[in-house]
Amino acid sequence: MAGLISLMILISLAGALITFLAKTREQARTVALITSIISLAIALKIFLGFDSSISTMQFVESYSWIPSIGVTLKFGLDGIGMPLVLLANIIIPLTVFFAWGETKEANRFYGLILLELTGVMGVFTSLDFFVFYIFWEIVLIPMYFLISIWGGPRKEYAAIKFFIYTHVASLVMLLAIFALYFNSLGITGRASFDMFELLKSYQVMDGDLIRGVISLKDAVFLGLLFGFIVKMPAVPFHTWLPDAHVEAPTAGSVILAALLLKMGGYGLFRVILPILPFSDSKGIMITLMAIIGVVSILYGTFLALAQRDLKKMVAYSSISHMGYVTLGAAALVPLSVSGAMYQQFSHGLITGILFMSCGVIQHSAGTRIIHDLGGIAKYMPKLTFVMLLGFLASLGLPGMSGFIAEFLVLVNSYFTLPTFVILALFGIVFTAGYHLWAMQRAVFGTYNEKLGHIHDGANYEIASMAILVLLVLYFGLNPNPVLNMMTVNAEQLVKFAVGLRGVMI
Amino acid sequence: MGLYSYLLISIIIFTIGVYGIITQRSGIKILMCIELLLNSANLNLVAFSSFNGNATGQVFALFSIAIAAAEAAIGFAILVALFRLRDTINLDNINILRW
């Protein structure tokens, strides 16, 4: 009997296939919504049955696949993966519902969205590196199509850029995985892609990649890190993101920002942190990650400030927010790490609201250029309401989930990385700046008569956003349901890293 | 005459063949040059056979001669078909497939 996790993955896959074959738009979207809700129901069942006081894997299931090279289909959830699976199952039904009005090739559209769900759930639950990698790559394909079929004017450029960038990163990661695999093979004499076994074998890896230049351990570490931070994305490997977002359809952007970026962060926690304390140049690696994190925070902020396109601004804000994840992970303090995990979860919810707002504005006013908008609050009061809340959440307003995450990251990272935290704090002012400036110019002020008569967002659009807003508020006031399980795992993760405190600047 | 004389002749023939392939424009001539190459190899085989004192080389040469004949036949067939279609076997003009 299949376990709940594989059931969830299979249902979404089956739903995707049925949706592809659907004859009418009505069928397609109904099937997609029902499937994603079933998947959500299973996710909730898992969530409610989840014991958040232990850090070990739960709901583990394992099936043999390619025994000769040690590949097993092994799935399981712990406090790192569980919230993200939940997030994926929250975002996808809402995205389907938000995109209820999609008319262009509806069956393919909804089918691809469900495939994304399959892919990300696979990534977040696989305990076998090989399977992990396969899901990691599979996720790219539906997104490529979502961008290139339903995208904006430069969709082809954006889609291919997205694909190539992230594919290169995954190949580099793959190489590092090989190195781990062979290392483990050499030590245990047993072929296995089991994630934990491989990560454990890292501890006893030795040798040089290039003697006198870089040790094997460091090279493997950097390879894995590269794979993840491109996905996150972190400066300077981020330039695919703004293009992808600008061109992607709203649903695509939501999934991209809310789920795909989280894969990078997930990799940091699942893979990077367990091996970080054993890296040869851990001090340098931690500094590197901290620099990447802080630079992403600040750079993303300033770039967001410079944007004319509302959606591009939101895209850069994602880069900035994901910087907290890197920073929190690099700090190696239990609560900074769980804060970083919480940031992932929270950003997933918040960014959904932001991209949906951009989508509604684009749809209604026909443009997202901030300069060409102005005063749309007059005709779009409902949108303005949810959008304002979304923007406030995004700028880290206390009482919303983003604040808890940023607060935990900043406060706890200060233990080990005080300089970086101080730098990151500078970003907060400007973060507020670009959010409010954009609101002021686009939504408030005198109505730009050139826009003609515009209408407010459709009810299903506003409702999807409102649900996200409620969730953001709920998790801002009561973070415990997900934060506790994160903290348990975060403590486990940094156990080996305790001695590292004070190593850093 | 030692082995090296045969080898020398063979290499000379080979070089002539290569030169011809590079410089000639007519399909027929190129075909002839390829025959030169094959025969230089045959000469080698036979010479080595004699030198090594076993007959394998000669057997190989026989195979190769037979194959060269078949090859030439196919080559001419292709050239004839081409000539019917294009009225030329000047290879400089046969370049609709490029880039």
């Binding site: 330039t239 400030l305 609050a377 307003l397 907060i428 409010l436 408030f444 903290t487 | 046969i94 490029r98």
Partner: protein, 667 residues
């Protein structure tokens, strides 16, 4: 009994917010009665608690919130004397202003949104006051900021209002970030203290790391330098929220909101949150080392100087403003400066008395400034303009407003009769501050804060009476038909006027009660109270003298017109220009730093790097185009001529020869 319902003080307005937001449009008066009832309820509970705990009770309730172990964050309530006086003041003033707003906002189509937002604001402000921990304090503080943002931008279709809202939020945000940085540093200090077994410092059960109680208990263990940083960062937050120099620029601009908002948020309550923060964490300020001036904790020295300077600095600008609300806004900034000055100077020499002095001024200021704003609102409501040059002669038409405003002005100017202890609220409160500054000067030999305070008092008197005379006396300067406001507006005016006149008499009881605050919490301030305080006659008289002098100057110039001001008020006069342009603060702050440096320089440079260099040059040009170009070039090698192919094959053989020769060294 009442203290069991302490949480309702915050929750009632929150509920009112939700109900008004969603149902307000369908209710009469935009649902105004919901928040009014809620705030009245809060006021009643607060009053009940006050009666219960007076004179030396404390209410403390706390529940864990998130995170675990020694780092658990909590939510909780702390009602001590400091909090209860603020609670009473905020609920009361807020209640009055809400009632007033029923009339003032009666014609606005979006009034239900207005009442929802003010209700949320009140809730957040009450939560600031009630917080028993610095994190909840900060969170509420931020929500207060957002409400301020929303209310300043209430008429969002006005570009100036939208811009002012943004400016207010951003400038206070700078302070907030400093505040947050302070919390970060404090948390890390506390966590290290707890972690280190040598300190034997434990958080008792039911207590939490960021509670004020824990913070105060840990003061002796905190590294002194760190403590200075932490307190200065907290003060940075206070500077932003309370509009102190150099983050004062947003407050005058915030007057773009409805006048009731200005009265409630930008005069009486929210802006005092900064002062409240310093008062709340006063033991930490008092415990900072005295590296600069002997006997004066560094943090308090900074507070004193910033406060004193702001008091004077803002008053100078108040002199030249023509917008009635801007004058009042600068006046607010100036008065907040006084409160800071009190905390700094008196704090250094008088210990916890300073908190009483400062809070007393805070509360009397709340009454008379709310009154001033509501009067101004009444005038604006009647005249339809903010410009005092277009007013005049309103006295006859709006008697109640004129009289109540005059009372408020007297109170602001601190007029009273020394030695007899008769006077307006402002007389008592400001007098104590100036005397405190003098005492500070006596002890430390540093008279500069005192000088700031006295000169500012003179200017205060001048600008407020200038305003009053220009608005209410002389000939009408415009043709508008103006009339007295409805009673729903005038009754709150009268109530506030009574308080502005008579609140001062509670001063002795008030000082004693609030001073005991930290003792009740069991905190040793470590500041020894100075010698019994016997200032000379001139010191006691001086504040009143400057107040009266200011009044006379204003009377002579603006009522009797003995001086032609047109010569002074000209764009040729550099001093006037400097003041009128607000020391070029908007230009430097918003235009230069905000737009030019941040947006045009930093952000656009980033954009350039991102799009043109990383993306354009590296990705598109170097990598992408190069590949395409190479592809095109190599492609042309495929000439289609078969001899070329053969030649390349032969060349390939040669190439292999070379390669193998390199490896084998053969041939």
């Amino acid at each position: 009994m009442f203290s069991d319902f302490a949480a309702l003080i915050v929750l009632l307005p929150v509920i009112a917010f939700v109900l008004t937001l969603f149902l307000g449009k369908k209710l009469p008066h935009g649902g105004a009665y919901l928040p009014i009832a809620a705030i009245a309820g809060s006021f009643i509970i607060s009053a009940g608690i006050f009666l219960e705990i007076y004179p030396e009770g404390i209410v403390q309730q706390s529940i864990p919130w998130f995170s675990s172990g020694s780092s658990t964050m909590n939510m909780g309530i702390l009602i001590d004397p400091l909090a209860i006086v603020m609670l009473l003041m905020v609920t009361f003033v807020s209640l009055l202003i809400h009632i007033y707003a029923v009339g003032y906002m009666s014609h606005d189509p979006a009034k239900s949104r207005y009442f929802a937002e003010t209700s949320l604001f009140t809730a957040a402000m009450l939560s600031v006051i009630l917080s028993d921990n610095i994190l909840q304090f900060f969170i509420s503080w931020e929500v207060v900021g957002v409400c301020s943002f929303l209310l300043i931008g209430f008429w969002y279709h006005k570009p100036s209002a939208a811009a002012a809202a943004k400016k207010a939020f951003l400038v206070t945000r700078i302070g907030d970030v400093l505040f947050l940085a302070g919390i970060v540093m404090l948390y890390v200090e506390l966590a290290r203290i707890i972690e280190n077994p040598a300190n034997a410092f434990e958080i008792g059960s039911g207590n939490f790391i960021l509670q004020f109680k824990t913070m105060f208990e840990a003061i002796p263990l905190i590294d002194k330098t760190q403590l200075t940083y932490i307190t200065l960062l907290f003060f940075g937050g206070a500077v932003g929220k309370s509009g102190q120099f150099p983050l004062h620029g947003w407050l005058p601009d915030a007057m773009e909101g409805p006048t009731t908002v200005s009265a409630l948020i930008h005069a009486a309550t929210m802006v005092t949150a900064g002062v409240y923060l310093v008062a709340r964490t006063f033991p930490m300020f008092a415990a900072t080392p005295d590296t600069i001036s002997h006997g004066v904790p560094d943090a308090l020295l900074v507070v004193a100087y910033i406060g004193g300077f702001t008091a004077l600095f803002a008053a100078t600008m108040g002199l030249v403003m023509n917008d009635i609300k801007r004058v009042l806004a600068y006046s607010t900034v100036s008065q907040l400066g006084y409160m800071m000055l009190a905390l700094g100077t008196a704090g250094a020499v008088l210990g916890s008395k300073a908190v009483g002095i400062s809070m007393f001024h805070l509360i009397s200021h709340a009454f008379f400034k709310a009154l001033l704003f509501l009067c101004a609102g009444s005038v604006i409501h009647a005249v339809g303009t903010n410009d005092i040059r277009e007013m005049g002669g309103l006295f006859s038409k709006m008697k109640i407003t004129a009289v109540t405003m005059f009372i408020a002005a007297l109170s602001l100017a601190g007029i009273g009769i020394p030695f007899l202890n008769i006077g307006t609220a402002g007389f008592f409160s400001k007098d104590m501050i100036i005397e405190g500054a003098f005492e500070y000067g006596e002890v430390t030999g540093d008279m500069i804060p005192y000088a700031f305070a006295v000169i500012a008092a003179l200017l205060t008197s001048i600008y407020i009476f200038r305003l009053w005379f220009m608005a209410f006396t002389g000939k009408p300067r415009s043709e508008r038909h103006s009339h007295e406001s409805p009673s729903v507006m005038t009754i709150p005016l009268m109530i506030l006027a009574v308080l502005a006149l008579f609140f001062g008499f509670s001063h002795t009881g008030f000082y004693g009660y609030v001073e005991s605050n930290f003792e009740l919490m069991g905190v040793d301030l470590g500041v020894h109270e100075g010698e019994p305080f016997h200032p000379s006659v001139i010191v006691i008289l001086l504040p009143v003298i400057v107040g009266v002098v200011g009044f006379l100057i204003a009377y002579l110039i603006y009522n009797k017109r003995i001086l032609d001001m047109s010569k002074i008020i000209s764009s040729q006069n550099p001093l006037y220009k400097l003041l009128y342009n607000r020391y070029y603060e908007p230009k430097i702050g918003a235009d230069l730093i905000g737009v030019k440096l941040t947006h045009d320089v930093a952000a656009q440079t980033g954009e350039f790097i991102d799009r043109k260099i990383i993306d354009g040059l590296v990705i598109d040009t170097i990598i992408s185009s190069t590949i395409f170009k190479i592809g095109e070039v190599i492609r042309k090698m495929q000439t289609g001529v078969v001899q070329n192919y053969a030649s390349i094959t032969i060349l390939g053989v040669a190439l292999l020869l070379v390669l193998l020769r390199l490896e084998f060294g053969g041939i």
